[in-house]
Symmetry: C2
Subunit: 262 residues, 2 copies
């Protein structure tokens, strides 16, 4: 695998992040996962817009502009000969002295990598009991590299023999899956939790809400229990939920239709 | 600066973390900050105990045992000729494929670094309004490298011209400062928030609670407003709080006494 770091293409096995990088030390970074289909980089402007929102929140500017980042993505795709790919763009605040306080002179680190695309498969879900998503934090509204709550929920799902987990927020309402938004069809109407409940403003979520009648409102676990159809969305695609807490669910018509259209 | 990575001493400027390391990609790691005084590594057993609790929660074992880690700490202190130091021990889950799901075959990364010790100074505090600490997450009870909420609160403090910030939890009660526990003296009695309110079980906090009458109970912002004395504790020492939200506070007798004893 060849990766792009700060403007240079390097073999991943020799590419170097400094151990003092705040991305490694403190999870002080942001990322985007971007779908490439037949060589086309999908929804790149939306990914850049979310990255920009994250950079504003975390208060560090990149030296790279979107055009340079796009060239980096294309260089990584070419170097790895990938036309169907999941691109990962990761930025961190860069090398700094010990401690929480950012150094305004730190030079951010930018890494672009790509892996072969694997089509989304149906998913069996649990509702995580071990941790909660913090909807009171603005970090819930951008895509950060401080991911441990999602990782813990994913570990809990694996221990239960399932594929993924729903995170509830601090009020006990549905927020999202560990790396995807959730939609539930209730009485024929697709519903997804609002961003204020701790749902990441997902790029695919945004696209679906823009093309399709969707109610954005608080979802309870009880709502999920009676849903006719549930599916997850991420930039990599749409995943029908075929069981929730062991209850079988059908692959529904909306997930099927959207997967064909998007 | 010379750092220890996975058993080897390397100059920090050439030391290498793989860009696919989950510590960098996902904040999937833990750390300890350890005080070294006159060459003595303080409270190392308590730091190892907390690290072990974190490793159990995150579910990845280290190949290194405590004796090996202690040799690593001593090697870093010797290599950097430090007798008064802050040691940072950082572990991550290691290199892995893209995505939240841990790879059980990943080999964890261990980094030990040390910086010259600077004595703690008095601190001016705000109460952060921009984010909250997630007391519902078990990650609040171990010391993880997913630190963005603390970083955002520290940025908010700096913008207000202050030194540090108190994080409230999702219920609006006091949890801790961005990298320290908080104690407030109320009617002559030292009070500190319980771990269940989102206070990290700090090594220094534990030591103070063990040697001194302290009430562990929920603290409100109003409690802080009427406190006779406030101080912060971390493994690096005791910091008297000399203002809270602009209200001046005296350097109190308890902080002064503890700083001399611990």
């Amino acid at each position: 695998m060849i990766v792009w770091i700060d403007g240079l293409l390097v073999a991943a096995g020799t590419a170097r992040i400094d151990p003092r990088d705040r991305g490694f030390m403190l999870g002080d970074g942001l990322y985007e996962t971007i779908r490439v289909r037949q060589g086309e980089i999908l929804r790149l402007d939306r990914h850049f817009a979310r990255l920009a929102a994250g950079l504003e929140l975390l208060d560090f500017p990149l030296a790279a502009d979107p055009a340079m980042l796009e060239r980096g993505v294309r260089a990584v795709l070419d170097a790895n000969r990938l036309a169907e790919a999941a691109v990962r763009l990761t930025v961190s605040r860069g090398v700094s002295a010990r401690g929480m306080a950012p150094d305004p002179k730190a030079k951010p680190t930018i890494v672009i990598s790509a892996t072969p695309y694997t089509p989304p498969v149906p998913v069996r879900l649990i509702i995580a009991t071990g941790t909660r998503r913090n909807e009171h934090s603005p970090t819930a509204r951008v895509k950060t590299t401080s991911c441990l709550d999602s990782i813990l929920a994913r570990i809990e799902a694996a221990r239960a023999g399932m594929d993924d987990a729903i995170l509830l927020n601090s009020a006990g309402c549905v927020a999202e899956a560990t790396a995807a938004n959730i939609f539930a069809v209730l009485d024929g109407v697709p519903v997804t939790p609002p961003v204020s409940d701790g749902a990441l403003p997902g790029v695919m979520r945004e696209q679906i809400v823009g093309r399709q009648k969707v109610e954005e409102r608080t979802l309870s676990a009880a709502d999920l229990d009676r849903a006719e159809e549930i599916f997850l969305t991420s930039s990599l695609g749409i995943r029908p939920v075929i069981s929730l807490e062991g209850r079988p669910l059908p692959v529904g018509p909306l997930a099927t239709r959207l997967a064909g259209e998007i």
